[in-house]
């Protein structure tokens, strides 16, 4: 696959504009503010980072669409898709190139959070396996969120509407399980909704449980939206 060039270009475009820096900064700052100030980490005096990761789904709902919104919408707005789709790359390669470059940005953000758990090791006896599990869950949640966001971006030429629609979509698929807390629904619908919810599957990782079903769930969601993205692009022909 000849997508290295495309990934390089996507990353350059991210970092040549202030957007990527702002997104990363916002992510790292708000994560730590929530954890240390609102979460009262030191006051609670517990050697657990669970509250560090439990805000991840909410934060991702705001952050991931900011990364994914531009990936297609910008191409359509500048009409650079006219050239992009005439380059010797298949639709799948183009979609993957865009997806992987967003994933690289996600990884950078995650790596930037490493200093906190590493430093906290000094203060107590943290369960390392749990923290690793929580990081894996965060990464998988990020993959799913980015694939949804990029699919939505491919349906519009307006970054702002791509952002808003993605936030709404992520809100919905993250917290669909919680709907049953406010409305009374039959038991099987309750189960179904909670199964479809991203946060349900993230919670197992948060608790430090590795379940292949959760892996599979995130893989299926990510794969599905990448597939839909390729389809959406092909339909434009």
């Amino acid at each position: 696959m000849n997508i290295k060039g495309l990934i390089k270009k996507e990353l350059k475009a991210y970092f040549n504009s202030p957007m990527a820096y702002l997104v990363v900064l916002f992510f790292v700052l708000s994560l730590n503010i929530f954890f240390f100030f609102f979460g009262q980490f030191f006051g609670r005096d517990t050697a657990s980072m669970r509250s560090y990761f439990s805000i991840m789904p909410v934060l991702f709902i705001l952050i991931l669409p900011a990364i994914s919104m531009r990936s297609w919408a910008e191409e359509f707005k500048l009409k650079t898709d006219m050239l992009l789709f005439t380059l010797p790359l298949s639709e799948f390669e183009i979609v993957m190139g865009k997806f992987l470059s967003a994933v690289i940005l996600l990884l950078m953000m995650i790596v930037l959070t490493f200093p906190v758990p590493i430093m906290l090791q000094m203060f107590g006896n943290f369960e390392r396996g749990q923290i690793i599990g929580e990081y894996i869950g965060t990464f998988l949640l990020g993959l799913a969120g980015l694939s949804v966001g990029q699919f939505i971006s491919s349906r519009t030429s307006n970054q702002i509407s791509a952002y808003i629609f993605s936030v709404v979509a992520l809100l919905f698929i993250t917290f669909i399980g919680q709907i049953t807390m406010v409305i009374n629904v039959p038991k099987f619908i309750d189960n179904l909704f909670s199964y479809l919810s991203l946060s349900t599957h993230f919670e197992s990782f948060e608790k430090g449980i590795f379940d292949t079903r959760d892996f599979a769930f995130f893989a299926i969601i990510t794969g599905l939206f990448i597939y839909l993205n390729v389809k959406a692009i092909k339909l434009k022909k």
């Binding site: 000849n2 060039g5 495309l6 350059k12 500048l78 789709f85 005439t86 380059l87 010797p88």
Partner: protein, 306 residues
């Protein structure tokens, strides 16, 4: 090099391209000429693989757009209308990206990028962000990426829009040079461009080809008669010209500054000029001018597309 057979492109109810076929050989520069919305850009989008046609097929460099689209894309260089570019990249970053995607070998990359920068005159703006470039430099950056991998087929959608007259001449010269070995299709609505650059023209209207050939051939096809303007000293009865059999119509007569200006339409191909001269001598008229009139491409264009 390019074989297009019976292509249609229908968007909803609108027929953008209507049963178009043409062949273009190696070393030809062909102009697609037509009013806005005639289907020029749509044809280019089909040839570059951006769109599939609704019906029909196209073969470029021996590869079908259905079976070997990636090969087709590798053999073509494309400058879309208005040169869309990534505003967040610098010119050099952009060309570097294109060289990677176009699989320009690593050891030749720098050399090839330098070559196109030279040919398109981009050196003053190499490190500038594309978003800050003027229209002319944008257009040239778009052209630079199209020729970066020395494609066999070059497809240029209005390549000289936004350029100043000097740049237009440079770019036309560049296109002519490329056209000596490669195949070039360019669309334009600037008629002088066609005369200056193209060996052959396809005139399109409402998605159909309405005329095809070299500018001279199209003139022949469209103009059914030869036209002359005759200036004669003194006052002359123009209807006397009618005695010449080949004069089919006297279009106008006008007296001006002691001269009579007569415009006639004559049968095609005959040695009309000499016969008119003989007629004037025989009748004792003093000819001060005898001008054969060529229909301008503008007139032909209007006639075909109105």
């Amino acid at each position: 090099m390019i074989k297009v057979e019976n292509i249609d492109k229908i968007y909803g109810k609108f027929r953008a391209v209507d049963n178009v076929s043409f062949h273009i050989g190696k070393g030809e520069i062909v102009g697609l000429l037509g009013p806005n919305g005639a289907g020029k850009t749509t044809i280019m989008k089909i040839l570059t693989g951006y769109h599939y046609p609704t019906h029909g097929t196209a073969i470029l460099n021996g590869y079908s757009i259905y079976d070997d689209l990636l090969k087709v894309k590798e053999s073509t260089g494309y400058l879309p209308e208005n040169a869309p570019l990534y505003d967040d990249l610098t010119v050099i970053e952009y060309l570097d990206f294109m060289a990677d995607i176009r699989k320009v070998p690593k050891d030749k990359k720098k050399q090839e990028i330098d070559r196109v920068i030279q040919e398109t005159g981009l050196s003053p703006v190499v490190y500038r962000g594309i978003g800050k470039l003027s229209k002319g430099y944008r257009q040239r950056t778009g052209l630079a990426q199209a020729i970066l991998h020395s494609p066999d087929i070059l497809i240029l959608d209005e390549p000289t829009t936004g350029l100043d007259p000097n740049q237009i001449i440079e770019i036309r010269k560049l296109i002519c040079d490329i056209g000596k070995e490669k195949t070039v299709i360019l669309s334009t609505h600037i008629l002088q461009e066609v005369e200056a650059v193209c060996n052959r023209v396809l005139i399109l209207n409402h998605g159909k080809i309405v005329a095809e050939g070299s500018p001279e051939q199209i003139r022949e096809q469209v103009q059914k008669d030869d036209r002359f303007t005759i200036d004669v000293a003194g006052t002359v009865d123009a209807s006397a010209l009618k005695e010449l059999e080949l004069v089919s119509e006297i279009l106008s007569t006008q007296a001006q500054d002691g001269k009579t200006i007569i415009k006639i339409s004559a049968q095609k191909g005959a040695d009309t000029g000499a016969l008119i001269f003989d007629w004037a001598v025989k009748n004792g008229c003093r000819l001060s001018a005898l001008i054969p009139e060529q229909a301008s491409l503008e007139n032909i264009f209007r006639k075909l597309t109105n």
